[in-house]
């Protein structure tokens, strides 16, 4: 692999006796889309939280563009160019859709825009990109499920991230909506963003991911090209249980 954009080495997270993530190691090249899959409770969101800085690792290293970031606070990592969405969506409830995304534009990579007007212009561009422009003045609270996902997405994109961490953005979407989001993600990659996607929707993962990483009970059980990993018997077993003879 060429110089990886970011790397995780022996990453481990313990919560008072429960090991959520254990000895995970992988690399992601620039402009790759890597899928992170595994059964519920496998530790996928924990890994994203460890990378974004919401959680501190118990052991292991995280390198971004060659720099160690495991000790950096979340906001510094955001400024370096790491953006994430939350599985349990966290819009700023009292603010409008436009204001929500503007925050992303004001504080993202490199410290974001300094002037509010510029940030709003950028925010508007991202709202159009994600199809939310007509809702820009509505309170974020008033949005329904799929639109909330789009908002999460737009907020993260407005930060101009180099690395985008997506946490189950397809959950609860119907087939048509899933296709739309897949297209959106591909367009984002074309803009030069590297993406790590947690997803349960297999169709989406298959179409998006260059490579896959599979977690089970916090451990890495497979890693490699999408089609190879998906036919790996250990992966199948993890998802479906042992086949009855």
């Amino acid at each position: 692999m060429t110089e990886p954009l970011f790397e995780v080495r022996h990453l481990t997270k313990r919560f008072r006796g429960l090991i959520a993530v254990s000895d995970v190691t992988f690399r992601v090249a620039p402009r790759e889309i890597v899928g992170l899959i595994g059964p519920n409770g496998a530790g996928k969101t924990t890994i994203i939280s460890l990378i974004s800085g919401t959680l501190v690792p118990s052991a292991g290293e995280i390198l971004f563009e060659g720099r160690h970031i495991e000790r950096l606070p979340a906001y510094r990592r955001a400024r370096l160019g790491i953006g994430r969405t939350f599985q349990v969506m966290k819009p700023f409830p009292g603010l409008s859709v436009l204001e929500n995304v503007t925050v992303g534009a004001l504080f993202g990579t490199g410290g974001g825009e300094r002037r509010r007007e510029r940030a709003e212009e950028k925010a508007l561009e991202w709202l159009e990109f994600t199809g939310l422009a007509r809702r820009m003045d509505q309170p974020a609270e008033a949005l329904g499920g799929p639109d909330r996902k789009r908002l999460e997405f737009a907020k993260a994109l407005a930060m101009n991230p180099k690395l985008l961490l997506l946490d189950e953005v397809m959950a609860g979407l119907n087939s048509v909506e899933v296709d739309q989001v897949v297209e959106l993600i591909k367009k984002v990659r074309e803009k030069g963003v590297t993406i790590l996607v947690i997803e349960h929707v297999m169709k989406a993962i298959r179409r998006l991911s260059d490579r896959l990483l599979v977690l089970h009970h916090g451990q890495q059980i497979a890693e490699g090209r999408t089609d190879e990993v998906l036919s790996d018997p250990r992966v199948v077993e993890a998802y479906l249980g042992k086949r009855r003879q």
Binding site: A78, K90, F92, G104, G112
Partner: protein, 315 residues
């Protein structure tokens, strides 16, 4: 339309400035109190309204400003200006020193920590020699209510102007993001600790200056009045009544509530308190987002405003 709205503020300020020359002394004195408490409300607005960290201890900064100015003038014999600066420095230093550990706490824990801080400060001032212990301090006398009025007005205008700037700035957007969802704010690149401490410092600065002006005006101070705990709740109530997180809400709330309080106090003792209490209870039930929001909301949706609120907030 917007351009005219900008004119309204300077006109209002000018109108207020003229007041001492066209009314009686009592009104001027009431005015000074109202202006200072409005400043306190506005200061609280920065840390409580915009940042969402409800401090019940801003009286500490006010008290430090009071005592700083008093000590500087009574013990060191400095001028008023230097005294004010000294008081402000004390207030700001306290915000920086205690801000960092206390701002790590969320919600009611933060509120109570600030309460505790206020109580401790009050107790300490009652025992320290240089502060005159329990007896208090006497400042040099200066007659000139009109001057104090104008000074208080300038302070309020400065505070409101600062809040107006905050409301439209990147800093303000950061504070609001912290209020709405602090974890998300961090992940989006906001250095939440620094922002919170900055907000608290701004609040401390204006509170301390208000305290300093008040000290010189009434000439005599003691721990009970300087660190008066009821101030805390009054400034919170006034801001919440008028509209937290807005530019004019605290001013509106402060003026309305002090007027009501004054009118009632002259009618019968104690009844003012009773009415105050009822006003607060009704206000919280009927306008949980403040007066300004009520006016706007009513204009938009009429009586449904109340129904919507009820439906959203009740169990």
């Amino acid at each position: 339309m917007n351009r005219y709205r900008w004119l309204a503020l300077p006109i209002a300020a000018a109108a207020l400035a003229v007041v001492p020359w066209v009314t009686s002394d009592t009104i001027v004195q009431y005015g000074i109190n109202a202006l200072l408490v409005a400043t306190l409300a506005q200061a609280w607005n920065v840390i409580g309204g915009f940042s969402g960290y409800p401090s019940f201890g801003n009286s500490v900064f006010y008290g430090l400003g009071t005592y700083g100015t008093a000590i500087a003038m009574a013990q060191f014999h400095w001028s008023f200006g230097s005294g004010l600066v000294f008081g402000a420095v004390l207030g700001v230093a306290c915000a920086l020193l205690f801000g960092i550990p206390i701002l790590r706490l969320r919600g009611p824990y933060f509120a109570i920590a600030t309460l505790g801080l206020a109580a401790v400060m009050s107790a300490i001032t009652a025992t320290v020699e240089i502060a005159g212990k329990n007896i208090g301090l006497i400042l040099p006398l200066f007659r000139g209510d009109k001057l104090f009025y104008e000074l208080s007005l300038i302070l309020l205008v400065a505070a409101t102007g600062t809040v107006a700037w905050i409301a439209r700035s990147r800093f303000g957007a950061g504070l609001v993001a912290i209020r709405e969802d602090e974890d998300a704010a961090q992940v989006m690149g906001i250095n939440t600790t620094m922002y919170k401490v900055a907000a608290l410092t701004v609040a401390a600065l204006f509170s301390a200056l208000a305290g300093g002006i008040h000290a010189y005006w009434i000439t005599f101070i003691d721990p009970a009045s300087a660190f008066d705990p009821s101030l805390n709740v009054r400034m919170v109530i006034m801001t919440l009544f008028g509209g937290p997180g807005t530019v004019l809400g605290p001013v509106l709330g402060a003026f309305v509530l002090s007027a009501v309080s004054e009118v009632l106090a002259s009618q019968a003792t104690g009844v003012a308190s009773l009415f105050y209490g009822f006003v607060i209870v009704i206000a919280v039930l009927v306008m949980p987002k403040g007066l300004l929001d009520l006016v706007q909301g009513f204009r938009e949706t009429g009586w449904r405003y109340f129904v919507d609120n009820l439906r959203r907030y009740r169990i």
